[in-house]
């Protein structure tokens, strides 16, 4: 049992925190949001220079051999600074598919671009009726001669507008909710037959709904087994959930700090509002659920590396439940304790709340994962 960071991990944390202090003040972030696609190429290349974009990849693939803990450190820092660059979509998810399932040829084709910051990814998974079920896929890929022909529609593809490559879950066999018969395809975002509708998301990110009309890709576009890729999708989704848990902890931690600071300075009835016991107790409750969430983020981080799929899924699901519940409480109460100021777009606190809320709506909310945990029983 050891909760300490290694020396290297501590240095990583310091350097990420340092970088974000330099380039990610709230006012700087506002500028990035207005850039093309809603994020900063300059910041992204700083991430590349510091090796953050190559962090989780094997040294043999040009990466730095980092594990879950390194990603956790990064995502927590990103949460604190409200980073909008497409790290989750590109490195955690896009890179995750290549790490866990990619062939050597696919890795050689795609990892260098991720690592040097020249290419970004989007994950086209959500469908009209799939909600949070990863097995619910109707977008169809038909074998045709030497490749696949894709038809269907995907929604809320994060970074979908800017991504160079889309990773698309498709059905190659069977019925809508079958676990087998699912493939994962690498699709160039400019392939013929793709059309995109882009929009801003609630938390300031950019996403797109993407439709595929007879989009042709090569046979070799499939990552892993084209008839049985669901386990790979689940594995990467668990990585993404663990990363989101860590990001949420960063968001919650900052929300509580900002709220406590506000309670110390905001005066009403001639005294700081933090002197009122009912508000103190609320803040104490926020602290309690934050620490519970922090523990479960660590739990998810360690669990994401478990190879036994059932054990891994259960532990990550449990963490996502805790994060969802804690995040909702801290997010809502941060606004409440800030009062009117918390309602304004100009104050930072509301942006934490919005990002926390969107995390709850990504890769399964608390109720969804609670059902999963309750169906599979005892936590290890």
């Amino acid at each position: 049992m050891d909760f300490n960071l290694s020396e290297e991990q501590r240095l990583l944390k310091e350097s990420v925190d340092g970088l974000l202090t330099d380039v990610y003040a709230f006012d700087q972030r506002k500028k990035y949001l207005k850039e093309k696609g809603g994020w900063s190429r300059v910041v992204w290349s700083r991430f590349a220079q510091q090796g953050l974009l190559g962090l989780p990849f094997a040294e043999a693939d040009g990466g730095f051999g980092g594990g879950g803990v390194e990603t956790m450190i990064l995502m927590e820092a990103f949460g604190r600074a409200l980073v909008v660059e497409p790290y989750l979509a590109t490195v955690v998810i896009g890179g995750g598919f290549l790490r866990h399932g990619g062939s050597n040829v696919q890795k050689a084709a795609h990892l260098p671009g991720i690592i040097d910051g020249s290419k970004t990814f989007g994950f086209a998974q959500l469908e009209k009726n799939s909600r949070y079920d990863l097995n619910d896929v109707t977008t169809f890929a038909k074998k045709s001669g030497d490749g696949w022909v894709i038809d269907g529609e995907k929604f809320v593809v994060l970074n979908g507008e800017n991504a160079d490559t889309l990773i698309v879950t498709v059905r190659t066999k069977g019925a809508q909710r079958d676990s087998s018969g699912i493939a994962v395809l690498l699709v160039p975002a400019d392939a013929r037959g793709i059309s995109k509708k882009s929009y801003l998301t609630q938390d300031g990110l950019h996403a797109a709904d993407v439709s595929f009309t007879s989009v042709e890709v090569a046979r070799a576009a499939a990552i892993g087994d084209p008839e049985n890729a669901l386990p790979l999708v689940e594995r990467v989704a668990d990585d993404a959930r663990a990363a989101l848990c860590a990001e949420a902890v960063g968001l919650m931690d900052e929300s509580l700090k900002a709220t406590v600071d506000y309670m110390k300075t905001r005066k009403q009835f001639g005294v700081p509002i933090g002197s009122f016991q009912s508000l103190q107790h609320r803040a104490a409750d926020m602290f309690v659920v934050l620490e519970q969430a922090r523990s479960m983020s660590m739990y998810a981080t360690m669990a994401a590396d478990i190879d036994n799929a059932a054990e891994r899924a259960k532990a990550v699901a449990a963490a996502k439940v805790q994060i969802g519940r804690s995040g909702k409480f801290i997010g809502q109460q941060s606004i409440q304790l800030h009062g009117g100021i918390g309602m304004t777009m100009a104050a930072k606190i509301g942006h934490y709340f919005k990002r926390l809320t969107m995390i709850e709506h990504t890769f399964g909310d608390a109720d969804y994962h609670l059902r999963r945990v309750s169906e599979t029983g005892v936590l290890a």
Binding site: M1, D2, F3, N4, L5, S6, Q9, V69, L256, V260, M263, K264, G274, S275, Q277, Q280, H281, A283, A284, D285, F287, V288, E291, Q292, A293, R294, S295, M296, M298, Y299, T301, M302, A318, V321, Q322, L370, R371, V373, S374, E375, G377, V378, L379
Partner: protein, 395 residues
């Protein structure tokens, strides 16, 4: 970072578990599983077995009979006892008065009391709360007046747990009424069979007799029974309560209860199927398991950090362990209640009688009622929130 126990820690866990298998009476284990009354004799017998092994005062410094274990080992030991389950060492002696004596007591007091605490030659109880001094403990009025080489003690303590078994009491007494309320308090220990001591039972809502009122009417106590310095009792009390806090989450107790809920829910039927297949019940159970897992890891994080706060100082974040630990214990008893449904009703008028024939179900409602206490004693949930707000958040 690694959230699994090391091989050495695992081996230690197995060693403890094996010792429990070899030494805990099956009758005591069954009584604990079913929430029945464990008698004084049964507890003392067990603690003496632990003491013979050198484990009854495990957290104490080695020179006073402790084990020198790591904080993780202490955690494992306690959790194994709670999960087996077997009675954990008597908190009032081992966790409370013992550390005060070896930290602030004189040589004679250490030599006399510490071995007796270790072997449970004396059963200790705690004289802190008073009718007018609950959360506001420092407003206590029980008075100790110096008369020659004696203290004359007058006043009343209450909520005195298991005073009916006790030989000794450690008492906070006012020794200087002119000082500010925290400053004039002293820490005095004495025999409960001293002349002028009256112990009266309080029946709690579960029907049981766990706590008592203790009255002092001109009780004469030797001056030497003062621990540490006169009028410094409040500092010792704070030290004692800080010591108490790390073990207070009682994660092992909740783990054992949840294990039992799962076991029983596989057989108890509702709507023609086992309770465990009822989605609502199952989800409530799942959420309590998740909360408990989070609490367990939080506890271990705080345990791992213990060294940072110095001797006798506890991490103020440990207040959250008390809050969440209470919640876990209460939720588990609530779920047990929910499971037995209409069979919660029958009441046993003699809950302390060792009636073996009595169905264990009859203990479930009393256990639920009784467990409401855990968010009240040892610093209520609200006091813990005050501590977090002030000491952690700086409000």
């Amino acid at each position: 970072m690694d959230l699994v126990f090391t091989e050495k820690e695992q081996a230690f866990r197995h060693q403890v578990r094996q010792f429990l298998r070899d030494n805990v009476s099956p009758q005591v284990q069954r009584k604990m599983i079913e929430g029945r009354h464990v008698s004084k004799e049964e507890m003392v017998t067990w603690w003496r077995i632990l003491n013979k092994k050198g484990w009854n005062v495990s957290p104490w410094p080695k020179e006073y009979g402790g084990t020198g274990w790591s904080s993780v080992q202490h955690y494992i030991f306690r959790e194994e006892l709670q999960m087996y389950p077997a009675p954990t060492p008597l908190a009032f002696g081992v966790g409370m008065v013992g550390p005060v004596i070896y930290t602030f007591g004189n040589e004679a007091q250490k030599q006399y009391y510490l071995p007796r605490i270790a072997n449970v030659d004396d059963w200790w109880c705690q004289g802190f709360s008073e009718p007018g001094a609950g959360s506001d403990l420092a407003s206590l009025t029980t008075k100790a007046e110096r008369r020659g080489d004696k203290w004359i003690i007058n006043g009343q303590k209450t909520w005195t747990t298991l005073a009916q078994h006790a030989d000794m009491i450690f008492c906070l007494c006012r020794t200087d009424s002119s000082a500010k309320k925290q400053m004039g308090i002293s820490f005095i220990v004495f025999c409960l069979d001293s002349k002028g001591v009256t112990v009266r039972p309080i029946q709690t809502i579960d029907g049981g007799h766990e706590v008592n009122e203790v009255f002092f009417d001109d009780v004469e106590v030797s001056y030497e029974n003062l621990i540490g310095e006169e009028n410094k009792g409040w500092d010792y009390a704070k030290f004692l309560l800080g010591n108490e806090r790390t073990g207070i989450a009682r994660v092992g107790v909740s783990k054992e209860r949840i294990r039992r809920i799962r076991e029983l829910a596989a057989t108890f039927e509702s709507g023609g199927r086992p309770m465990i297949e009822d989605p609502m019940f199952r989800e409530k159970l799942a959420i309590s398991e998740i909360e408990l897992k989070a609490l367990e890891l939080t506890q271990l994080r705080i345990v791992a950090d213990e060294g940072k706060y110095g001797k006798g100082k506890s991490n103020p974040a440990s207040s959250m362990l008390k809050i969440k630990g209470s919640q876990s214990q209460q939720t588990a008893t609530e779920l047990l209640m929910e499971m037995i449904g209409p069979f919660a009703a029958p009441y046993n008028e003699h809950p302390d009688s060792p009636d073996e024939a009595m169905d264990w179900i009859v203990q479930m409602a009393p256990s639920y009622f009784n467990n409401r206490k855990v968010s009240i004693y040892g610093g209520s949930d609200e006091i813990q929130r005050n501590i977090i707000a002030k000491a952690v958040l700086g409000l």
